[in-house]
Amino acid sequence: MFRLRLWRPGFRRAHASSRPAGGATSLNWKRAGKLLPVPALLYWLIPILVPDGQLGNATLRMLIANLMSPQALFDQRSPGARLVGNLITIKGKGKPHERVLSTVRERPTPRVVLDMPVVVDIAPGALLAFPDANPSLMTLPQYPIAGGAPFVPSTPFVSTPPQGLQIPPGPLLPPLVGFIPGGIPSPPSSTPVTPAVPVASNPPGNNTPPGGTPDTPPGGTPGTPPGGTPGTPPGGTPGTPPGGDVIVLPEPASWTMMLLGLVGIGGFSRRRKPQAGKNGAR
C-alpha cells in the first residue's frame, strides 16, 4: 500500500505539508548560500578598485603573503610527501617483477598471446598422427580378417616373423589369409576365405608398406589434417556448438546497467510530470 502511494505521480507534492521540519533547515542553508557571492566579490574587488589606498595595499600585501609566500609555493609545487614505510625496497624497479631462481633467470621471455604465430606455422609432419595416435601402426601391413575387424599385430610380432612358423587357427587368433597389396579391400567380403596360403609378410628389415612411404599418412598431405584447414576444429568455428546458434545470456553487470537505465528513465519522466501539471492545472 505504501509502495503504491510512493510511486503515484504527484504524491510528493500532495504530501509536502506532512514533511518533517528538517526541510526548513535546508531552506535556510539555501538562503545563506545566496550570500556567498558577496564576500567573494569584495575579496576580489577591493584590491583592484582601491590599489593606491591603504586598504588596497594592505589587502594586496596580505593576499600575496598568503598566496605567494615561499611556503605556499613549496606546497603547490611539491609532488607530495612520502609515507613512512611506503617503500619496501631500495631502488626498486618501479613495476612488479617475477622472483625466479638464478638458474632460470635467463630464460627467454614468453611471447604474449597476440604475438603468437597463426596455426599455419605448424611444422610439417607435426600433424601426421592426426587423427590416429601412433603413426608407426599406420605403416604396418594390413591383414584382412574374415568376418571381423582387421587384426593389427603387435610390433615385435610383425617385425621379426619367425621362418616357417605355423600358426594354428584358434578362437583368439583368427586365421591369416595372406597379404593383399593396397590395404584392406572395401567393402569387406562377407564370404569366408579359406585359410590355405601360409603367412606372407614383409621380409625382415623392410618396413615399407606397399601402399605408401613411411612417415606419410595414407590419404593426406603432411601438415593438413583430413577434413579441414589447420587450426579449424572439424565441424565449425571454435566456440560454436555443433547443434546450432549460441544463446547469449547477459551477465549480472549488464542486467544491473539495464535496470539502472530503466530506473533513470522512469525517474526523469516522473520528474517532468509534476512540472507539466503545475503549468497546466494551477
Binding site: 557571492p37 594586496l60 615561499p70 609555493l73 603547490q76 626498486g92 618501479g94
Partner: protein
C-alpha cells in the same frame, strides 16, 4: 518563479567560483616584476624569511613562480637577471623538493629522491665538503655524477634517475641535468639545509 530564483542562484555561484579562481592569479601577476614574469618578487619592506634547522634565518627576495605540482624527474632553473651572491640549498624532505637560492633569489628547484626508512637522509644544516663531477661509488658500484658531498660517511647530492617509487641509501638524488647546473652554481663550503621529513613545520615564514 522559484525556478528563476534557482537559476539566478546558480549563475551567482558560478560567477563567484570563477572570481575566486581567477583572483589569486591576477593579483600575483600584478605583484611580480614585469621584466621577469616567471618570478614572484617580494616587497623590500616585508621580505619573508625561512628559518633553518640551526636557527638561522635566510631572507627570501624572490621565488620562481611555479604554482603547479611538479613531477618526478622535473626541475626548473632560471638564473636570468639574478645578481651574484651567496648560494645556499634548501632540501625539503617532507615535500621532496630541493631549492637553490642565490643572494636570496631562488634560481632552481627540483623534485628529489632521499633515503629510505632503513637508511634515512641526515637532516640539519650541512656544508658541501667535496665536489666531484665524475664520482663512482665503490660501495654501491654505481656512478654518482656531479657529486656534492655533505657528510664524511658518504651522503651527498648527486645526479640520479628520479622516478616515483625510488629511494636512495641516504643520498639526495636530483635529475642529472639539474645536478650539472647545481654543481656549477655551488662551491665548497656552501650551506645545505636539510629539513626533516617528519616535521614539515620546522621552518616557518617570519
Amino acid at each position: 518563479m522559484a525556478h528563476d530564483r534557482f537559476r539566478m542562484f546558480g549563475r551567482c555561484l558560478i560567477l563567484a567560483a570563477g572570481l575566486i579562481l581567477l583572483a589569486p592569479r591576477g593579483i600575483a601577476e600584478a605583484a611580480t616584476d614585469p621584466v621577469s614574469a616567471s618570478r614572484v618578487l617580494y616587497s623590500p619592506d616585508g621580505y619573508p624569511q625561512l628559518t633553518l634547522p640551526d636557527g638561522r634565518r635566510e631572507t627570501i627576495r624572490s621565488m620562481l613562480a611555479i604554482t603547479r605540482q611538479m613531477h618526478f624527474g622535473e626541475f626548473v632553473w632560471d638564473e636570468k637577471s639574478v645578481p651574484l651572491g651567496p648560494v645556499w640549498v634548501r632540501v625539503d624532505l617532507a615535500r621532496q623538493l630541493l631549492s637553490v637560492f642565490r643572494g636570496g633569489h631562488e634560481i632552481g628547484t627540483a623534485v628529489i629522491l632521499y633515503g629510505t626508512d632503513g637508511k634515512p637522509t641526515p637532516t640539519g644544516s650541512l656544508k658541501i665538503l667535496e665536489k666531484n663531477p665524475h664520482y663512482y661509488s665503490r660501495s654501491y658500484h654505481a656512478p654518482m655524477p656531479f657529486m656534492l658531498r655533505l657528510t664524511n660517511d658518504g651522503v651527498a647530492i648527486h645526479g640520479s634517475s628520479v622516478q616515483e617509487g625510488r629511494a636512495t641509501h641516504g643520498c639526495i638524488g636530483v635529475p642529472i641535468d639539474f645536478a650539472r647546473l647545481l654543481f656549477g652554481a655551488a662551491k665548497k663550503g656552501d650551506l645545505v639545509a636539510v629539513l626533516p621529513a617528519q616535521e614539515p613545520q620546522a621552518d616557518r615564514v617570519k
